[in-house]
């Protein structure tokens, strides 16, 4: 079995130059739109002005970024743990599955922005309602992906386990859960981006700190550069959290990544 081994840094450059070029192109278009006066400056600030503001107001933004990140991560972790537990219960018990599914679906379908004010009424203006909204947003993809993962286990593998006599706990720990991890990670990646949205939505509804609050304030003051800066920071937080999970997946599931990598290499070789 010969593996295609590439220098990791060269691999990184190879993988990132296309998205980097696209990003640069977007910035260039943005710059052109504002520089040519196609759109009024108070509607869309120039990239120079936006990034200048980012640099100037860094310490102000940093504090709010920290608040939003904290709410997001806390919400994401709670959603992850709860989501996995609920999924396990659903997979192992028909009753739990048939009972929980409609409720889950119902909770998922309700627009979070519509119930967020309720949480403010119940929990006040602190970080709690934001975390709750983040949990609600992130929970569903975790449950669905974990259920799919746990059910995706080969029935023959489970039959084999039955002849080995390890009992349900060992079967879960050694076979079922590891087999579900690729699905779980896919769900977690979706969940973390939704958790960011959840935290910001929570801040929109009632808050005096966090990036959602920054954007709302900027909006009220017609301060579009600050609004853009806030948006950029939120996106960066989301992207960084996503990449962190991607890295964790690669470290925890090297077998999965390498298989996927092999498939990609073959595809590229064919194309």
């Amino acid at each position: 079995m010969d593996k295609v081994r590439t220098d990791p840094w060269r691999g990184l450059v190879e993988r990132s130059w296309r998205p980097a070029a696209l990003l640069a192109a977007c910035l260039a278009v943005w710059h052109l739109i504002t520089a040519t006066g196609l759109v009024e400056a108070y509607l869309v600030p120039s990239p120079a002005k936006t990034f200048g503001l980012l640099a100037d107001k860094w310490s102000y933004l940093w504090g709010h970024t920290w608040v939003t990140t904290y709410e997001t991560v806390l919400g994401f972790v709670i959603a992850g743990v709860l989501g996995v537990l609920v999924a396990v219960a659903m997979v192992y018990s028909r009753t739990v599955e048939s009972t929980a599914y409609p409720i889950l679906l119902f909770a998922q379908v309700i627009p979070k922005i519509a119930i967020a004010p309720l949480f403010v009424v119940w929990l006040g203006f602190g970080f709690e309602p934001k975390v709750v909204v983040a949990v609600l947003m992130a929970f569903f993809p975790v449950v669905i992906s974990t259920v799919t993962g746990l059910k995706s286990v080969d029935t023959e593998m489970l039959e084999l386990a039955a002849t080995m006599g390890g009992g349900p706990v060992k079967t879960f720990v050694k076979i079922r859960f590891p087999a579900a991890l690729p699905h779980l990670f896919a769900g977690l990646k979706v969940a973390v981006t939704l958790a960011v949205t959840g935290a910001v939505v929570g801040e929109f509804v009632g808050s005096n700190e966090g990036l959602g609050y920054v954007i709302l304030q900027a909006n009220g003051n017609m301060d579009t550069p600050m609004l853009f800066a806030g948006l950029i920071v939120i996106s960066v937080v989301g992207v960084l959290l996503f990449l962190l999970l991607d890295l964790a997946e690669k470290l925890l599931l090297p077998w999965h990544a390498s298989r996927r990598g092999a498939a990609v290499t073959t595809l590229l070789a064919k194309g």
Binding site: E159, T163, W255
Partner: protein, 263 residues
Amino acid sequence: MSATLEMAASVAIDDVSVRFRSKRAEVTAIQQVSLDVAPGEFVSIVGPSGCGKSTLLKLVSGLLKPSSGTVTLLGSEVRGPRHDIGFVFQRAALLEWRSARRNILLQAEMRGMNSAEAARRADELIEMTGLSGFENALPHELSGGMQQRVALCRALLHQPRVLLMDEPFGALDALTREQMNVELHRVWRETGTTVLLVTHSIAESVYLANRVIVLTQRPAVVHEVIEVDLPGVRDYTATMARPEFASATARIRDLLGAATGQE
């Protein structure tokens, strides 16, 4: 006399029927099949596709309950999944995140076997099946034949007295399959395990077995039992050339042709 025979048998299938009930219809997969397998015997099972061969092995392992009749394994009636067997499926069914060696050791971990003892035994089996050098390879880095060898090692790790194999070499090319046959025959002679092998290859069924059970179309009943009169140590090419081999395979081919012809 029959009582003593049953006491002695490793596997005793007694008047067993299996019916599957689905939404549309009731399917009788196996009808009143009886079969005794002596300790240390190698029995092949052949029959048309869908006749109930896999079902038969699942009955013996306790993964499936008979609708009527009883199955006795190593002196006790089969009531649920049995742990005193080794099972090899058509697909290797390996855990893709575990190396070849750790896939074999899964058997020991699930059973809570002594780990030093298990590791020693795993190394022995790896050596015996020619997997040396690939202990640490992940399943996707192994060829189909190697994966199947890993599955075989895993099934033998706990030294089961009965080994059940369901078309273990079905996915292999002809040459690898022959090599695996020779290896399996040697392993069987060395370990003295009782083996029940389901296969679609008539040559394989005769080369490996003491007896070949030919089943009919569904619902499966035992069509005929062919005694294979070949020497214990079987050189592959020489065995193929023997008249006993030719007559046994011809007879089975006839029976299977007739069994399919009835449809």
